[in-house]
Symmetry: C2
Subunit: 360 residues, 2 copies
């Protein structure tokens, strides 16, 4: 992976930024996307009233939209612009991963204050992109898009008092083969990919770095070792697209969801849609090094996959290079029992959904 | 069409509004959408990581996103919430119309301040919707969605310091049959559907009404006759979906775009994509009663279709009940001539694009 900036390690040099209109911005984005090459699934990209996307016979189109708003989902003062761009796209790709869908195209509606939309001079004669906030935002988004062969096929640009980005992802999945939240049955085993809690731990470090910078305290946070890893987990999440495709292709997963709001919240969603309950073995949870059990259970934005499989399914230890861990089982739903029960050495306890809820 | 509120005619009675969380809001929207009935093109709607949409063999998927932001595209203080809902969806449907695409599904990412997301009591035991701002916004959006058989299949909800709505539309069009901006050739005749300038004239009335209310001046604006019509054109635009489908099916249009930014701007876009220039006959423009020629030329948001046809194409006077008017012709592009020339009794003049441009 390309070396990307960590928070607090950005250059403090400011280059002169000039303001440009929407049409010039659009032309620059279009030039960057065109330079990235064509895609067989996008017959017509940026520049018309709609983009045209094609699917293969027998495929359905999976569609997801995710809204990221400054002050809610990211902080202009905390997050490097590249990280915001990557995080915005990762949210959408992760939803495709949870359906077992192959990415077809991304669309971005972006609202920005004037000062973030300003352009700077191109880096070189060959590159249409400069080094202003919006250029660096697209750097992050387009780098992840390239990694997952997901062309940016359209969107909208608008001036806005706050930064707001709505990402739309289209994916393709053979009809009837999509991984749904509603497929879990009592007796299924529950699995997660990768490890949990890293993004929440990274967010804590980011908050601490912001406090340190604000208070002008000497030194600054230690971002070595595990802390650096968790910070990366937060800033540059990796959606599990390959793992979702692998599961859907083989029909190994009975139900799936991505962990965007946190295990306690997302597992409850899966149980609600399937009409079941779940027991989680606290000791089995793959906690990211540097994160706490609490962060692994309630922290969001890990973008791992949570899925269930019938008891007789034999899963490998790794799927497409990422570890898979059995963390519990699906049980019958009953009024007497919580939707999700956490089992630890201290006994059984109800696991209340503690993920983020807007307007709450 | 259902009777909908005009600005300044809303009830001033305020019912108690209670705050609800995102999940309760989502459940209510899902109940409303479910009550509207199922669609053959949406195999899976709200409630999973993605929606699943299917197209017929040989069809391509047309995709458009349009971002509407409070203070830029609408004003909470001026626009009835139903009108904001209808306008948000009309923008997206109009883009499908301009491609000649059949609407498949809509997705809405909505960011709202807490006070607009509050719920009120349901109107009746049968209806899950109340009379709060967000309920009335969805009233407008879902009414237009029903009119155009466009199910709301997903989206996102987030708390936001300002109201912002990103609408995503998916449509289907037989492969190779979409109406593109790039198909115009010198010699083509240029047509518009309906009439122009009404939405801009209506916006002027709305501004005047707002000034009157703000200044507490007696009386208020006259909204009878033409003025009422233009106000409706602004508040409750009707996308030309049927007309676009009619043109695409018969292969009558060589190039098309919808008039969202205004004739002077959108015709220039079409010319740019086709590598041509255009001459507009000012005397031929179908100006909406109550609007000025200036508003017909530069005013946006009429959501009529602008299209070109080869000179030997014989078009009827009306398409699906809406008048079609020849307004000019496509000519060769040359450095000596403006991209769009307006021809009036006073002679020829360059028509500069004067539509809205963000960040300008």
């Amino acid at each position: 992976m390309e070396r990307r900036p960590l928070a607090g390690q950005e250059s403090t040099q400011r280059r002169p930024v000039e303001r440009v209109g929407e049409l010039a911005l659009l032309a620059r984005i279009r030039a960057r996307v065109t330079a990235a090459g064509s895609s067989p699934s996008v017959r017509l990209g940026i520049g018309d009233d709609c983009a045209l996307v094609s699917v293969k016979p027998g495929e359905e189109v999976a569609v997801t939209t995710d809204f990221s708003i400054a002050g809610r989902h990211f902080e202009i003062a905390w997050h490097p612009p590249e990280a915001i761009g990557q995080r915005v796209l990762a949210r959408g790709l992760s939803d495709l991963a949870a359906m077992g869908a192959r990415p077809l195209a991304a669309f971005l509606s972006l609202g920005l204050p004037k000062e973030l939309a300003g352009s700077s001079k191109p880096r070189s004669a060959k590159s249409p992109a400069g080094t202003s906030w919006i250029d660096r935002f697209y750097d992050g988004l387009l780098a992840l898009a390239a990694e997952f062969h997901t062309p940016l096929a359209g969107g909208d640009l608008a001036e806005s008092p706050i930064a707001a980005a709505d990402i739309v992802l289209l994916g393709a999945v053979p009809a009837g083969k999509a991984l749904l939240r509603s497929g879990a049955r009592p007796g299924d085993a529950i699995y997660v990919t990768g490890s949990l809690g890293g993004a929440a731990a990274g967010l804590e470090i980011l908050r601490e770095l912001a406090r340190v910078r604000k208070g002008s305290r000497a030194g600054g946070a230690n971002t070595r070792g595990n802390m650096k890893e968790t910070l990366y987990r937060h800033l540059y999440p990796q959606p599990r697209v390959k793992q979702g495709l692998w599961l859907a292709k083989r029909g190994f997963a009975a139900a799936a969801i991505d962990l965007s709001d946190g295990l306690s919240t997302d597992l409850a969603h899966l149980c609600d849609e399937s009409g079941v309950a779940a027991e989680v073995d606290g000791g089995a949870l793959p906690v990211t090094a540097g994160a706490t059990l609490e962060q692994a259970i309630h922290g969001g934005e890990d973008y791992e996959l949570l899925f269930t499989a019938r008891p007789n399914t034999h899963l490998p230890r790794k799927i497409a290079g990422v570890a898979v861990t059995r963390i519990g089982q699906v049980v019958k739903r009953s009024a007497k029992q919580p939707i999700v029960t956490l089992i630890t050495a201290e006994g059984r306890q109800a696991l209340e959904a503690q993920g983020w809820e807007h307007f709450a």
